[in-house]
């Protein structure tokens, strides 16, 4: 009958784990999101054209994804296609978003969990040969925000993308400078990731598991060579077979959202199934990525863990491969910024529309109804929501591993932290 509450740190936002026991049996394991601002409510009546600015504030970590998803939804309503040169800039923006996020999740959030028998409180506590990890990791991470700053005008809550395109071209000197920065940071990122992989193996040896490895459904909006800009949503079944592919506006036929009693975050189901999104979902959908170094890591990953891979701690490694991929991809794209129109003309109109991007945590859908130029209804289907049930399932696996009838092994505390961080949830987004 006791309830165990574990506060969470090294994730975005406010949440805690609640595990309920009855007579020494684990009954429930819940990820409780404890914050809420109410975007779906207070956006009612707001002028539609202001959405890209306001909804960026859903999350300071993934503001780029929200900024673009909103713009894409408005473009669906206004029936306007942004020109290729504008899409190119937006893709760079998404790559910046991913670099920033994956570096943060890898080095600031999860890496401190690995060393020794207890892990470290933070990245800043690494010692010995690893003492310079913090500085180097922040260096890699900052390249992501610099890319967002370049492509988005602002490094957080960007503003350069506008309905119909972008508001101005990229400054050439900025492009050149950033190309050099990324080139210098790429080897650093690989070094850090190699060390990450080593420490990860050490953890695996110590705890003897990589967590819940139930074959699962995976959801992502990617295809080979993509830059997280989003397109069709694709679903892999637990055997690794693509089971569905659908356009953003069809999402309601496949995805259902359900309220969670003990949380301010809803959860999403795919046709009634628990599913997973985020890095491992993407790598399970894309056997190769298309950039040289990342694909070497992909081979190593697949040799070691198979394809599709299911153990949840592999989400961590998958993020490292994506970090390398995004750096390579950005470098490649910054070489040839295309010329041409950056904004298409349009006439605002009323209607209903959806926009999707592949955010760091998976497909992010914005869905708006506009009446008389004002938002009548705004709905946000958030990547972290896709993972809520998978997180709780993985928490149950961990809890059952460490609760033994008449006693609780306190490794459980570290285990639930690792489980949650593997999914890198974003609570500001999930609750919005």
């Amino acid at each position: 009958m006791p309830t165990l509450t574990f506060p969470l740190s090294r994730i975005e936002g406010h949440a805690q784990i609640i595990i309920k026991l009855t007579a020494g049996e684990v009954q429930h394991a819940t990820l409780q999101a404890t914050e809420l601002r109410g975007f779906e409510y207070f956006l009612q009546g707001v002028p539609a054209e202001q959405l890209p600015i306001i909804v960026a504030r859903i999350c300071g970590v993934c503001s780029t994804a929200h900024h673009l998803a909103a713009i894409k939804a408005l473009e669906a309503i206004y029936q306007v296609e942004p020109p290729p040169a504008a899409v190119y800039i937006r893709e760079l923006l998404m790559l910046g978003q991913l670099i920033q996020n994956q570096a943060t999740s890898l080095f600031l959030f999860t890496m401190p969990d690995f060393p020794g028998s207890e892990g470290l409180p933070s990245m800043f506590e690494f010692g010995g040969d690893d003492a310079n990890i913090a500085r180097r990791a922040l260096e890699v991470r900052r390249v992501g925000t610099e890319l967002i700053g370049l492509a988005g005008g602002q490094f957080i809550h960007p503003i350069r993308a506008v309905t119909g395109g972008v508001s101005s071209p990229l400054p050439e000197d900025g492009v050149r400078a950033l190309r050099e920065r990324i080139a210098s940071v790429l080897p650093l990122a690989c070094e850090l990731f190699e060390r990450y992989w080593e420490l990860f193996q050490g953890l695996h040896d110590r705890i003897g598991t990589l967590g819940d490895d139930t074959p699962s459904h995976y959801l992502a909006s990617v295809e080979e060579g993509h830059a997280y800009y989003g397109g069709n949503l694709r679903v892999l079944d637990p055997d690794g077979v693509e089971q569905a592919s659908f356009a953003p506006h069809e999402y309601q036929r496949y995805l259902t959202e359900q309220p969670v009693e003990n949380s301010y975050s809803n959860a999403t189901l795919f046709n009634g199934h628990v599913m997973r999104a985020n890095s491992l979902a993407r790598l399970n959908l894309l056997p190769r990525l298309g950039t040289p170094i990342a694909d070497i890591y992909m081979l190593r990953f697949q040799r070691e863990w198979g394809h599709p891979a299911h153990a949840i701690l592999l989400f961590d490694l998958a993020r490292g491969i994506e970090l390398v991929y995004c750096l390579e991809k950005a470098l490649e794209m910054l070489e040839h910024i295309p010329d041409g129109e950056i904004k298409a003309p349009y006439t605002p109109r009323d209607g209903e529309g959806c926009g999707v991007v592949e955010a760091p945590r998976g497909p992010l859908i914005h869905h708006f109804n506009v009446v008389n130029g004002l938002v009548e209804k705004a709905r946000f289907i958030i990547p972290t929501q896709h993972n809520i049930l998978a997180i709780e399932q993985a928490l149950m696996v961990a809890a059952r591993r460490y609760v033994h009838g008449d006693r609780i092994d306190l490794e459980l505390e570290r285990a639930v932290g690792r489980v949650v961080r593997a999914f890198d949830p974003c609570i500001s987004c999930a609750t919005h």
């Binding site: 090294r10 914050e35 800043f124 957080i156 003990n262």
Partner: protein, 279 residues
């Protein structure tokens, strides 16, 4: 390391925290003693400086803010949400509130307070660092700057676009058309409020062709006054530089994306905030 500081994140978007991580030069100079986003720490430790971001929305926010402020030397409210409640203030309309609370009280979770509150409605605040989010160099100033640092008085000064004799006669939509890269956005008919918005941000928005929405709040002259006086100042700029009807400006000034920021100072608190407290 001396001078430990802590970061307490209340209900917000974590954008302020991300900006602080970008200001990585503080590493090795001051010890980060509390910041759950990147650091596992149990209880809030004593700190010399406490940065608070986000608004007071839940009872947990309230409790954690009270507890942390007791252990802090100086307290700095960081970002729009901490200073005025921020984006969730858009929900402070009766019809939306009712809907919102009746839907949410069905859940078994830490409670929402009946009203969103800025930090200084609950505890004493020594300084304010406005911006949504504040730029990394402003965080460095907050952590290390001397008290007499002077930043650009307004976004206009940071912006560098050229003012012309062009007098537009009507407002252009926020995202309408493609602005000329070198010319003042007001001359092009955009509702840019950079002229009376606090500077120091280096004007990334206007430089990228987007009108300033005022996220740094009013410049010193308006900080202790009501938002009406700021509105007046903005109206006067447009009267001087354009032929756009004053009512049109008036109406747009109350648009949600602006009201997020324009009410940032005097209107959300009983405390008077003095210019010298604001970075």
């Amino acid at each position: 390391m001396p001078n430990p500081f802590g970061v307490l994140q209340l209900s917000g978007c974590a954008g302020c925290e991300v900006a602080l991580l970008d200001a990585q030069e503080w590493i090795g100079q001051r010890r980060l003693a509390y910041m759950p986003l990147v650091l596992t720490a149990d209880e809030f430790p004593p700190v010399d400086t406490l940065l608070v971001s986000g608004a007071v929305r839940t009872d947990e926010d309230l409790y954690r803010l009270r507890a942390a402020s007791k252990r802090a030397g100086e307290l700095i409210a960081v970002g729009t949400c901490a200073i005025s409640g921020g984006v969730a203030n858009l929900g402070d309309r009766d019809e939306v509130r009712d809907l919102f609370f009746s839907a949410m009280e069905r859940r078994h979770v830490p409670r929402l307070l009946p009203k969103l509150r800025p930090v200084d409605a609950i505890v004493r605040v020594d300084r304010y660092l406005p911006g949504c989010p504040p730029m990394p160099h402003l965080f460095m100033l907050a952590l290390f700057g001397s008290p007499d640092t002077r930043l650009a008085a307004s976004v206009c000064i940071d912006c560098g676009r050229k003012k012309t004799k062009e007098r537009p006669t009507q407002l252009r939509g926020l995202q309408e058309g493609l602005p000329d890269p070198g010319i003042c956005l007001i001359n092009q008919g955009y509702l840019c409020i950079g002229a009376s918005t606090r500077g120091g941000c280096q004007a990334p928005c206007t430089k990228a062709g987007n009108p300033c929405v005022g996220c740094r709040g009013p410049s010193d002259s308006f900080i202790s006054r009501s938002s009406d006086e700021w509105f007046n100042a903005i109206r006067k700029v447009f009267l001087r530089m354009t032929d756009i009807p004053s009512e049109e400006i008036e109406r747009e000034l109350h648009a949600p994306h602006l009201s997020l920021f324009v009410f940032q100072f005097a209107d959300y608190t009983v405390t008077t905030r003095r210019p010298e407290q604001v970075l």
